[in-house]
Amino acid sequence: MAKLIIDKDTCTGCESCISACPFGALSMKEGIATVDEKCTFCGACVDVCPVSAITLEKEEKAVTIDISAYKDVWIFIEHEHGKVGNVSFELLGEGRKLADAIGCKLCGMLFGDREAVDRFAKDAIAYGAEKVYVMESPLLKQYCTDSYAKAAVDLIRKYKPEIVLFGATTQGRDFAGTVATTIEAGLTADCTGLEIDPETKYLKQTRPAFGGNIMATILDYPNYRPQMSTVRPKVFPMPSRDDSRKGEIIRETLQMTEDQARTKILEFIKGAETVNLADAEIIVSGGRGVGGPENFKVIRELAQALDAAVGASRAAVDSGWIPYEHQVGQTGRTVRPKIYIACGISGSIQHQAGMKTSEIIVAVNKDPEAPIFKIATYGIVGDLFTVVPMLTEEFKKRLAR
């Protein structure tokens, strides 16, 4: 078992380690730091101790693998309703950098029926994939955990990529966990930063935790490969498309029959709003200040003028003014639009967890003390029922709508 050892004679009781511990596992006893069972051996305290009184003892791993057999950077090319998700292209852009840094190939991993595979393999190549590993089967026409996980596991076992990246979408997050568990590899969720050591090829995966209040950088032990992550959409820029690029397509057969698929999609009901929150460049959100379901009209009108999606705070959803799928925040969706307009939203820590990383935040609120103003790029203190319609009118004028 791993151990965190605090040298009682060296410890000066400065308490630096206590605030550094993200898990609240350290406390002072008789002027000396002590550790309790909440410790996860992350080592954050080791780095901050000014007198090097803390050491972390980790034991050797039982499993050993031939790490040199693993090469190339793979991107899962996700598609739905006849279109590749933008996050897959963003990852091809970022994957290019990783592949160049360690001198390997950038590859796509694509599943679907014949039509989808032919079309989307071209897309992946145009965005930079040198090879695309494809599996084509009617069982892969629509996303389904069983068939997609089976396809990915078989390809990864056969070709041994060094790195596999998935979009942190409902699709990516649904089956990446299945794949990682089946091959017993590491998986880091919902990353917002990737960095690679060109020598060791270790992938430093940075992600928010505790509702975005802290960031953690995660590594995979060298005896587990591939290094896998799901990455949030809109973190990396969209690379440019170049249809003159050439790439190789490698076809494999899905080793699965129809009766092995344990789940079946019966129907898909498209959301009522035209733009979905995850893809939206602009979001207009309403909160407690909106005051009632019929008042959301003001929010919707601004959203319409801007071709934006409509969001909401938990307060508005819990009051039954707008359905849950609009909720932004810790128990709703995490969004990252270019512009987020918060109307009548005070900006609780939970709401911030879902929208803090938006590029520009605009806040409209009656209360000048509302926490939302602390993170807003621009703020207007005023009644949303006056300000928002004025914004709508002004935008309509400029956009000639």
Partner: protein, 266 residues
């Protein structure tokens, strides 16, 4: 219906503050709560039991103080609860955690019809443990479930609604299956007075690595492929906090100018 519900104790982020001096999370005095998504998981199990009969087994893996969330589960009507707690589990990432919980279900709870988890925990936010448990148990999974439309225990079949980015998907699965549930699936009940009294007196059984027959190479730090190398505060938002002052007739066009300049609005 035999249902296993997996829950986690998490710090209440309503209380989480950042120390302005050290820029780190202030954890002292922060209350611990049941992960909000897991409350929906427990409630859904109770609703299913009310309709179809059966028993509800609630499992939580964590330090000894996590027994508190299991007492809450007992108070609302769980039949059996188990705290899976051992120093040997410390440092577990999602792979090792899913192994440990799945092992507990197999060794202690036995054959189940349903496993229900919250969509994700609000401290780690990974959403990886649910699918991991399903894979270890060799059962299918339905994630992001916002509604159970139909359960047919005789035909061993379930139909649910999943909430995706751009709509809702109606999916059918065979039983047993693992569900991860979202917030709008139900409204968790409050415990009754009798429930609270019963829970307060209850002894929470603790299971160790040995009790669940865990392979020591697959638990805790040893069974975890990933490790946290660095923890730091996120960058403060840049250029924030410009409150536009003045008459609305001037301020509104000014804001519109600033936003039009970004070229995002087309």
């Amino acid at each position: 219906m035999k249902i296993a519900v997996c829950i986690k104790q998490v710090p209440d982020t309503t209380d989480v503050k950042i120390d302005p001096k050290t820029n780190t999370l202030v954890r002292e005095g922060v209350a611990s709560i049941t992960n909000p998504f897991d409350e929906y998981a427990i409630e859904e199990a109770l609703l299913i039991k009310e309709k179809h009969g059966g028993e509800i087994h609630v499992i939580s893996m964590g330090p000894p103080q996590a027994s508190e969330v299991l007492k809450n589960a007992l108070a609302v009507g769980a039949d059996k609860v188990y705290l899976v707690s051992d120093r040997a589990f410390a440092g577990a990432d999602t792979l090792a955690t899913a192994y440990t919980v799945a092992k507990t279900i197999q060794a202690i709870v036995g054959e189940v019809d349903l496993v229900i988890c919250g969509k994700q925990a609000i401290d780690g936010d990974t959403a990886q443990v649910g699918p991991g448990i399903a894979t270890r148990l060799g059962i299918p999974q339905l994630t992001y479930v916002s509604k159970i439309k139909e359960i047919d225990p005789a035909k061993r079949r379930i139909v649910v609604e999943r909430l995706l980015e751009d709509g809702r998907e109606i999916v059918e699965s065979s039983l047993p299956v693992l569900l991860t549930v979202m917030k709008d699936i139900n409204e968790p009940r409050l415990p009754s007075l009798i429930g609270i009294k019963k829970a307060a007196k209850a002894q929470i059984p603790t299971l160790t690595a040995k009790d669940i027959g865990a392979d020591e190479n697959r638990i805790g730090l040893k069974g975890s492929p990933t490790w946290v190398t660095k923890v730091f505060s996120p960058e403060a938002r840049r250029g924030g906090g410009e409150i536009l002052q003045g008459e609305l007739s001037e301020v509104v066009p000014l804001l519109v100018n600033k936003l039009m300049d970004t070229k995002v609005i087309k």
